[in-house]
Point group: C2
DNA sequence: TCCTTATTTAGCTAATTTGTTAAATTAATA
DNA sequence: TATTAATTTAACAAATTAGCTAAATAAGGA
Protein backbone atom coordinates (compact mmCIF):
# COMPACT_ATOMS: atom_id res chain seq x y z
CA UNK A 1 0.00 0.00 0.00
CA UNK A 2 1.14 3.51 -0.80
CA UNK A 3 1.41 5.95 2.06
CA UNK A 4 0.49 9.61 1.70
CA UNK A 5 4.04 10.75 1.10
CA UNK A 6 4.49 8.27 -1.74
CA UNK A 7 1.22 9.31 -3.35
CA UNK A 8 2.11 12.99 -3.21
CA UNK A 9 5.49 12.20 -4.77
CA UNK A 10 3.76 10.43 -7.64
CA UNK A 11 1.36 13.33 -8.20
CA UNK A 12 4.20 15.84 -8.06
CA UNK A 13 6.13 13.78 -10.58
CA UNK A 14 3.19 13.58 -13.00
CA UNK A 15 2.19 17.21 -12.51
CA UNK A 16 4.82 18.42 -14.97
CA UNK A 17 4.23 18.36 -18.72
CA UNK A 18 7.59 16.88 -19.67
CA UNK A 19 7.50 14.16 -17.03
CA UNK A 20 3.90 13.37 -17.85
CA UNK A 21 4.77 12.93 -21.53
CA UNK A 22 7.69 10.66 -20.68
CA UNK A 23 5.41 8.63 -18.43
CA UNK A 24 2.67 8.44 -21.05
CA UNK A 25 5.01 7.48 -23.88
CA UNK A 26 6.68 4.97 -21.63
CA UNK A 27 3.41 3.15 -21.03
CA UNK A 28 1.97 3.49 -24.49
CA UNK A 29 5.16 2.17 -26.01
CA UNK A 30 6.28 5.44 -27.57
CA UNK A 31 9.93 4.81 -26.82
CA UNK A 32 9.87 1.06 -26.74
CA UNK A 33 12.48 -0.47 -28.95
CA UNK A 34 14.23 -3.78 -29.00
CA UNK A 35 17.75 -2.55 -28.42
CA UNK A 36 19.68 -5.68 -27.62
CA UNK A 37 19.07 -8.16 -30.43
CA UNK A 38 20.99 -10.89 -28.65
CA UNK A 39 18.39 -10.94 -25.89
CA UNK A 40 15.03 -12.72 -25.90
CA UNK A 41 12.15 -10.55 -27.03
CA UNK A 42 10.38 -10.95 -23.69
CA UNK A 43 13.36 -9.47 -21.88
CA UNK A 44 12.03 -6.16 -20.62
CA UNK A 45 15.50 -4.69 -20.32
CA UNK A 46 16.18 -5.44 -23.97
CA UNK A 47 12.96 -3.70 -24.94
CA UNK A 48 13.41 -0.70 -22.74
CA UNK A 49 15.07 2.49 -23.79
CA UNK A 50 17.79 4.74 -22.44
CA UNK A 51 18.15 8.34 -21.28
CA UNK A 52 19.52 9.70 -24.56
CA UNK A 53 16.74 8.08 -26.62
CA UNK A 54 14.12 9.73 -24.43
CA UNK A 55 15.92 13.08 -24.48
CA UNK A 56 15.91 12.99 -28.31
CA UNK A 57 12.14 13.37 -28.17
CA UNK A 58 12.31 16.67 -26.32
CA UNK A 59 13.78 20.09 -26.95
CA UNK A 60 15.45 20.06 -23.55
CA UNK A 61 19.03 19.34 -22.71
CA UNK A 62 20.13 15.86 -21.68
CA UNK A 63 20.84 16.82 -18.05
CA UNK A 64 17.33 18.26 -17.78
CA UNK A 65 15.75 15.01 -19.00
CA UNK A 66 18.10 13.05 -16.76
CA UNK A 67 16.80 14.94 -13.74
CA UNK A 68 13.18 14.44 -14.79
CA UNK A 69 13.82 10.72 -15.08
CA UNK A 70 15.38 10.70 -11.64
CA UNK A 71 12.20 12.19 -10.25
CA UNK A 72 10.04 9.61 -12.00
CA UNK A 73 12.30 6.92 -10.59
CA UNK A 74 12.19 8.37 -7.07
CA UNK A 75 8.41 8.29 -7.31
CA UNK A 76 8.66 4.63 -8.32
CA UNK A 77 6.92 5.29 -11.64
CA UNK A 78 9.81 3.95 -13.70
CA UNK A 79 12.65 1.53 -13.12
CA UNK A 80 16.18 2.35 -14.27
CA UNK A 81 18.71 -0.42 -14.71
CA UNK A 82 22.34 0.17 -15.54
CA UNK A 83 23.70 -2.25 -18.15
CA UNK A 84 27.26 -1.52 -19.23
CA UNK A 85 27.36 2.24 -19.78
CA UNK A 86 23.69 2.66 -20.61
CA UNK A 87 20.69 2.96 -18.33
CA UNK A 88 17.65 1.05 -19.47
CA UNK A 89 14.31 2.41 -18.44
CA UNK A 90 11.05 0.55 -17.96
CA UNK A 91 7.70 1.67 -16.64
CA UNK A 92 6.47 0.25 -13.33
CA UNK A 93 2.86 -0.74 -13.99
CA UNK A 94 2.37 -2.01 -10.42
CA UNK A 95 2.55 1.43 -8.88
CA UNK A 96 0.05 2.81 -11.34
CA UNK A 97 -2.34 -0.03 -10.60
CA UNK A 98 -2.02 0.70 -6.91
CA UNK A 99 -2.66 4.39 -7.46
CA UNK A 100 -5.69 3.61 -9.56
CA UNK A 101 -7.00 1.39 -6.77
CA UNK A 102 -6.49 4.21 -4.24
CA UNK A 103 -8.71 6.45 -6.32
CA UNK A 104 -11.50 3.94 -6.76
CA UNK A 105 -11.39 3.11 -3.06
CA UNK A 106 -11.67 6.77 -2.19
CA UNK A 107 -14.67 7.26 -4.46
CA UNK A 108 -16.28 4.04 -3.22
CA UNK A 109 -15.87 5.14 0.38
CA UNK A 110 -17.30 8.53 -0.51
CA UNK A 111 -20.30 6.92 -2.18
CA UNK A 112 -20.85 4.80 0.92
CA UNK A 113 -20.66 7.78 3.24
CA UNK A 114 -23.42 9.42 1.19
CA UNK A 115 -25.68 6.45 1.80
CA UNK A 116 -25.56 7.21 5.51
CA UNK A 117 -27.60 10.29 4.75
CA UNK A 118 -29.75 8.96 1.96
CA UNK A 119 -30.84 5.34 1.80
CA UNK A 120 -32.75 5.86 -1.41
CA UNK A 121 -29.47 6.10 -3.27
CA UNK A 122 -28.51 2.55 -2.41
CA UNK A 123 -30.70 1.22 -5.21
CA UNK A 124 -28.68 3.14 -7.81
CA UNK A 125 -25.65 1.00 -7.11
CA UNK B 1 -12.63 12.15 -21.32
CA UNK B 2 -9.85 14.14 -19.76
CA UNK B 3 -7.26 15.66 -22.04
CA UNK B 4 -3.59 15.84 -21.15
CA UNK B 5 -3.77 19.40 -19.87
CA UNK B 6 -6.61 18.52 -17.50
CA UNK B 7 -4.79 15.48 -16.18
CA UNK B 8 -1.62 17.45 -15.51
CA UNK B 9 -3.67 20.08 -13.70
CA UNK B 10 -5.16 17.37 -11.46
CA UNK B 11 -1.73 15.90 -10.69
CA UNK B 12 -0.29 19.34 -9.97
CA UNK B 13 -3.20 20.05 -7.66
CA UNK B 14 -2.75 16.80 -5.73
CA UNK B 15 1.04 17.04 -5.66
CA UNK B 16 0.97 19.40 -2.68
CA UNK B 17 0.58 18.13 0.85
CA UNK B 18 -2.01 20.65 1.97
CA UNK B 19 -4.16 20.24 -1.12
CA UNK B 20 -3.84 16.47 -0.95
CA UNK B 21 -5.04 16.48 2.66
CA UNK B 22 -8.00 18.69 1.80
CA UNK B 23 -8.84 16.37 -1.07
CA UNK B 24 -8.50 13.25 1.07
CA UNK B 25 -10.54 14.62 3.97
CA UNK B 26 -13.13 15.85 1.51
CA UNK B 27 -13.66 12.36 0.13
CA UNK B 28 -13.35 10.44 3.37
CA UNK B 29 -15.89 12.72 5.02
CA UNK B 30 -13.43 14.51 7.30
CA UNK B 31 -15.14 17.84 6.89
CA UNK B 32 -18.62 16.65 6.05
CA UNK B 33 -21.27 18.21 8.22
CA UNK B 34 -24.93 18.86 7.88
CA UNK B 35 -24.85 22.62 7.98
CA UNK B 36 -28.28 23.66 6.90
CA UNK B 37 -30.84 21.85 9.05
CA UNK B 38 -33.72 23.23 7.03
CA UNK B 39 -32.52 21.30 3.98
CA UNK B 40 -33.11 17.64 3.17
CA UNK B 41 -30.31 15.39 4.33
CA UNK B 42 -29.57 14.23 0.78
CA UNK B 43 -28.92 17.81 -0.26
CA UNK B 44 -25.19 17.80 -0.98
CA UNK B 45 -24.89 21.52 -0.44
CA UNK B 46 -26.38 21.17 3.02
CA UNK B 47 -23.80 18.51 3.85
CA UNK B 48 -20.84 20.30 2.37
CA UNK B 49 -18.49 22.58 4.23
CA UNK B 50 -17.10 26.05 3.74
CA UNK B 51 -13.69 27.68 3.33
CA UNK B 52 -13.29 28.77 6.96
CA UNK B 53 -14.17 25.30 8.30
CA UNK B 54 -11.49 23.74 6.14
CA UNK B 55 -8.95 26.41 7.06
CA UNK B 56 -9.56 25.66 10.76
CA UNK B 57 -7.93 22.26 10.20
CA UNK B 58 -4.65 23.77 9.03
CA UNK B 59 -2.02 26.04 10.47
CA UNK B 60 -2.13 28.22 7.38
CA UNK B 61 -3.86 31.53 6.91
CA UNK B 62 -7.32 31.70 5.40
CA UNK B 63 -6.16 33.31 2.13
CA UNK B 64 -3.66 30.48 1.69
CA UNK B 65 -6.37 27.83 2.06
CA UNK B 66 -8.64 29.87 -0.17
CA UNK B 67 -6.04 29.79 -2.93
CA UNK B 68 -5.46 26.05 -2.49
CA UNK B 69 -9.19 25.47 -2.82
CA UNK B 70 -9.24 27.58 -5.97
CA UNK B 71 -6.61 25.29 -7.46
CA UNK B 72 -8.56 22.18 -6.54
CA UNK B 73 -11.62 23.76 -8.11
CA UNK B 74 -9.75 24.75 -11.27
CA UNK B 75 -8.63 21.14 -11.56
CA UNK B 76 -12.27 20.11 -11.23
CA UNK B 77 -11.55 18.05 -8.12
CA UNK B 78 -14.02 19.98 -5.98
CA UNK B 79 -17.14 22.03 -6.63
CA UNK B 80 -17.66 25.36 -4.90
CA UNK B 81 -21.13 26.83 -4.65
CA UNK B 82 -21.86 30.26 -3.24
CA UNK B 83 -24.89 30.36 -0.96
CA UNK B 84 -25.51 33.70 0.71
CA UNK B 85 -22.09 34.80 1.97
CA UNK B 86 -20.62 31.32 2.35
CA UNK B 87 -19.09 29.03 -0.22
CA UNK B 88 -20.06 25.41 0.11
CA UNK B 89 -17.59 22.86 -1.07
CA UNK B 90 -18.19 19.33 -2.30
CA UNK B 91 -15.87 16.77 -3.81
CA UNK B 92 -16.35 15.80 -7.47
CA UNK B 93 -16.18 11.99 -7.49
CA UNK B 94 -16.71 11.82 -11.26
CA UNK B 95 -13.34 13.32 -12.10
CA UNK B 96 -11.57 10.91 -9.76
CA UNK B 97 -13.34 7.96 -11.33
CA UNK B 98 -12.27 9.20 -14.75
CA UNK B 99 -8.69 9.60 -13.62
CA UNK B 100 -8.70 6.13 -12.13
CA UNK B 101 -9.97 4.77 -15.44
CA UNK B 102 -7.16 6.57 -17.31
CA UNK B 103 -4.62 4.76 -15.16
CA UNK B 104 -6.09 1.32 -15.56
CA UNK B 105 -6.42 1.88 -19.31
CA UNK B 106 -2.78 2.87 -19.50
CA UNK B 107 -1.66 -0.21 -17.60
CA UNK B 108 -3.97 -2.45 -19.63
CA UNK B 109 -2.60 -1.06 -22.87
CA UNK B 110 0.91 -1.55 -21.57
CA UNK B 111 0.17 -5.15 -20.64
CA UNK B 112 -1.24 -5.73 -24.11
CA UNK B 113 1.79 -4.25 -25.79
CA UNK B 114 3.94 -6.72 -23.86
CA UNK B 115 1.95 -9.64 -25.25
CA UNK B 116 3.06 -8.66 -28.74
CA UNK B 117 6.52 -9.79 -27.73
CA UNK B 118 5.65 -12.70 -25.50
CA UNK B 119 2.61 -14.86 -26.15
CA UNK B 120 3.34 -17.07 -23.19
CA UNK B 121 2.25 -14.27 -20.87
CA UNK B 122 -1.29 -14.28 -22.26
CA UNK B 123 -2.18 -17.28 -20.10
CA UNK B 124 -1.37 -15.32 -16.93
CA UNK B 125 -4.26 -12.98 -17.55
C1' DT C 1 46.15 4.15 -23.11
C1' DC C 2 43.22 7.40 -25.46
C1' DC C 3 38.83 8.41 -27.36
C1' DT C 4 34.00 8.03 -27.49
C1' DT C 5 29.49 7.32 -25.51
C1' DA C 6 26.15 7.55 -21.76
C1' DT C 7 24.94 9.64 -17.84
C1' DT C 8 25.15 12.51 -13.60
C1' DT C 9 26.68 16.37 -10.76
C1' DA C 10 27.69 21.21 -9.90
C1' DG C 11 26.79 25.87 -10.21
C1' DC C 12 24.08 29.12 -11.89
C1' DT C 13 19.62 31.92 -13.39
C1' DA C 14 14.72 32.56 -14.26
C1' DA C 15 10.16 31.22 -13.36
C1' DT C 16 6.80 29.37 -10.41
C1' DT C 17 4.86 28.16 -6.06
C1' DT C 18 3.62 28.91 -1.41
C1' DG C 19 3.32 31.43 2.27
C1' DT C 20 2.41 36.12 4.66
C1' DT C 21 -0.50 40.53 5.96
C1' DA C 22 -3.50 44.26 4.57
C1' DA C 23 -7.24 45.80 1.86
C1' DA C 24 -11.39 44.96 -0.90
C1' DT C 25 -15.79 42.70 -1.71
C1' DT C 26 -20.17 40.68 -0.62
C1' DA C 27 -23.95 39.44 2.10
C1' DA C 28 -26.35 38.92 6.56
C1' DT C 29 -27.62 41.03 10.84
C1' DA C 30 -28.18 44.37 14.67
C1' DT D 1 -27.12 52.18 8.22
C1' DA D 2 -23.19 50.29 10.73
C1' DT D 3 -21.15 46.03 12.02
C1' DT D 4 -19.82 41.46 11.51
C1' DA D 5 -18.70 37.33 8.91
C1' DA D 6 -16.94 34.92 4.82
C1' DT D 7 -14.16 35.11 1.17
C1' DT D 8 -10.98 36.94 -2.40
C1' DT D 9 -7.49 40.05 -4.24
C1' DA D 10 -3.12 42.52 -4.02
C1' DA D 11 1.52 43.07 -2.99
C1' DC D 12 5.23 41.11 -1.34
C1' DA D 13 9.12 37.62 0.39
C1' DA D 14 11.04 33.00 0.67
C1' DA D 15 11.44 28.48 -1.11
C1' DT D 16 11.24 25.35 -4.78
C1' DT D 17 11.41 23.96 -9.53
C1' DA D 18 13.09 23.81 -14.09
C1' DG D 19 16.03 25.14 -17.31
C1' DC D 20 20.99 25.96 -18.95
C1' DT D 21 26.30 24.97 -19.70
C1' DA D 22 30.48 22.99 -18.13
C1' DA D 23 32.76 19.50 -15.70
C1' DA D 24 32.97 14.88 -13.69
C1' DT D 25 32.31 9.88 -13.88
C1' DA D 26 32.02 5.32 -15.81
C1' DA D 27 32.32 1.92 -19.25
C1' DG D 28 33.50 0.21 -24.01
C1' DG D 29 36.22 0.11 -28.01
C1' DA D 30 40.24 1.49 -31.13
Amino acid sequence: MLNMEQKIKIFKALGNETRFKIFKNMFSGGYACHIDESKSKDDLIAQATCVTTIADNFNFSLPTISRHLKELRDANIIKMTKKSNKIYIEPNPQIINELSKCFTDLVDNYDESLYQFDNSKKEEK
